[in-house]
Symmetry: C2
Subunit: 209 residues, 2 copies
Amino acid sequence: MKTKDKILQEALKQFNERGTDAVSIRSIGDAVGISAGNLAYHFKNTDAIIYQLYLNLAEALNQQVAKTQDLEMTLHNLAKRTKETFQILFIYRFLLIDFVHINRRVEGLQKHFLSLMDMRKMQFRFLFELFQQKGLFRKDITNEQYAELSDIIILYSNAWVSDGIVRFKGTNEALISHYARLFFMMTLPYLSAEGKGAFEEVLENWESM
Amino acid sequence: MKTKDKILQEALKQFNERGTDAVSIRSIGDAVGISAGNLAYHFKNTDAIIYQLYLNLAEALNQQVAKTQDLEMTLHNLAKRTKETFQILFIYRFLLIDFVHINRRVEGLQKHFLSLMDMRKMQFRFLFELFQQKGLFRKDITNEQYAELSDIIILYSNAWVSDGIVRFKGTNEALISHYARLFFMMTLPYLSAEGKGAFEEVLENWESM
DNA sequence: CATTAATTAGAACAAATGTACTAAATTTTG
DNA sequence: CAAAATTTAGTACATTTGTTCTAATTAATG
C-alpha cells in the first residue's frame, strides 16, 4: 500500500477512536512507522487529512446513490441500501461525531457538506413522493409534513452514530443494524395500510437481509 | 459575583463558541482577569469545569421536570415546557455538541448522563400513555412503536443543537423556536383526530407562546 | 548510466498546555 | 486585634504540537 493510503487508513482509525483533536501528525506517523517530516510532506496538517477523508466519504455516498438509481425502488431494496449507507457512515464515524467541530475548523468543508445535505434531502422527498404514488405512504400527510419528515431524517442520519456510541450496548454490527432499523421505523406512522404490510415483511427479514 | 461563578460563566461562553478542546485554564483566566494559578485553585483543570457545568445543566433539567409535575398536563403546557427546556439545552449547548467527546474524556460523567437519559425516556413514555388515555394519541400504535418514538425523541433532543448550528440560518432565538417546533411536530402522525385539533391550535400560537 | 524528481528522516523552534509550587494578599474567625 | 483559613498572582518545568528547513535516500526518466 502507498504511504498516502497508509496514512489515511491509520488517521481514520485514530480519529474514530480518539476524536480529531487528540490526533497529531506525530501520533499517526508513529503508528504507520514514518517520520513526522515525511507525513507533513504528504499532508500539511491533520486538517488536510480530515478534508481528504471527508471527500472519500462524500464519494462513497455518491456511489451509493448511483447504485440506488439503477434499481427498481422497492421497500426491500431501499432497506438494503439503507443498511449499506449506515455501514459507510459508521466507517467514517468521526466525521459525524465531531460534526460541528470539524465544520468550524476545516475551511471549505461546511459549504460542501451543506450541499451534500440538501442533495440527500431532495432524494428523500423524491422517495416519499414515489412511495405515495405507489400507495405505500398515506395520502393525508401534507407536503409540509413530508418536508419536516425529511428534515428529521437528515438530522437522524447525522446523529445516530453519536447516540449509539454513548448509549448502545453491543457490537458495532449490532449497533449499525439497530439504528438502521430504527431509521426505517421512523416512517412507519406515515405508511398506508398497504404500506404497512410490505413494511412488516421487510422488518421480519431484517437481520438476514 | 464570586470568582467561581465568573469562571463558570466565561468557561461556558468559550466552550460554546470554540469547543472544549480549544479552551484552556489560561484562556478563561485571561478573559475573567485572574491568573491561571488562581483558576487552578478553584478548578484543577478544564475537565473539572466541564463536570460542574454538566451538573448545573442536570440540575436545571430536574427543576424543569419538577415544574412540569405541578401543572395539569395539557398539550399547551407541554409545548411551553418544551420551549423552555430547549432554551436551557441551548445555554449549555457545548455539552450536546461535544457529546461523545466529553463522555470519553470526563470521568464519571457517562454513567450519570446515561441515567439522566433513561429518566427522560421514562418521562416521555409516561406522557404518551397519559395522552393516549386522554384520546389525543392514536390507539392503534403498539407499545413497541411508542418505545421507539421515545428513543428517537431522546436522540433528537441531544442532536438538534448540532444540526442547528451547522444548518440553520437565523438568530439563536429563531433556531431554538424552530427546533422546538419540529420536535413537537414529530409526534403529529401519532395523534388521533381529536389530538390533531388541539395540536394545530398549539402550533398556531407557537411564536407568541 | 546520469540527471532529475519524489520521497523520507531528522532536527530545530516557537507557542501552548497541564501541573505543581511558593509567597503574598485578603477574608474569616475567635 | 491576632491568628487561621482562604484566595490570588506569579513562576517554573516537562510535554506536546504545528511548522519549517536541510540533507539523505529512493524512484523515475531520458
